[in-house]
Amino acid sequence: MASQVQEVAGGMTEREVSVSVLFFAGARDLAGVERSAITLPVVTTPEQLLARVVRSFGELDIIRDSVIISLNQEYCVPGQELVLSAEDEVAIIPPISGGV
């Protein structure tokens, strides 16, 4: 999944990369898949990343306000700058309910 350069609005270029995105629980039920390769900007935030994922999997729109993004098995913080590469693993984490 090599990175690409894409023309964006305003004439600036935005480097992109295709990463693995995992869907769990309710997110998987809505997306209809467990895992997908999605093309994302190399430099992004959890919010932008989620918007891109929702663009590809429209059904996720109804839970977008309650999910958290993880990158390489670590929770992302809102607004955090993410620099993605092809080996990265992103996951869509709906509200958790482990334990009792």
Partner: protein
């Protein structure tokens, strides 16, 4: 030692308490989370758990690390069951040993609270009417 396990197998309280036992420790505290038979008036037939296993293990290890900074602990056991869990069977067992009782009591309490807040595991309740729901930890 930290004993972390996510498994499809039935959990055993005895196994967890044996793992936690150490001759220098006078105290083992345990918490067992079991499936309840009702949720908001609906009869629950069974629960189904799934996990982002790699990340869940990482998070559990990091909870152990934090607990060990807070209290002097000997062994920590965190066993979580995945897949179908029938009513009355354990979905989670936490066991902690320490020299004196206060530390292990407080650590178990901290670990189950943090597990519910941070470890990526999801529970689906399946009701007698055939419906099901992904749950959400409120606390």
């Amino acid at each position: 030692m930290d004993y972390i396990k996510l498994t499809q197998e039935k959990l055993s309280v005895d196994e967890a308490s044996i793992l936690a036992t150490h001759p220098s420790c006078g105290a083992i505290s345990l918490f067992v989370g079991t499936t309840r038979n009702t949720f908001q008036g609906k009869d629950v037939v069974r629960l189904e758990y799934e996990s982002y296993i790699e990340m869940a293990e990482k998070e559990m290890k990091s909870l152990c690390k934090v607990a060990r900074k807070k209290w002097p602990l000997k062994h920590i056991v965190i066993h979580h069951r995945l897949g179908l869990v029938p009513v009355k069977e354990a979905s989670v067992i936490i066991a902690v040993s320490s020299e004196h009782r206060r530390e292990s009591l407080d650590a178990v309490s901290y670990l189950i609270d943090s597990l519910k807040a941070k470890v990526p595991i999801w529970k689906k309740e399946i009701y007698t009417d055939g419906n099901s729901d992904w749950k959400k930890n409120k606390e």
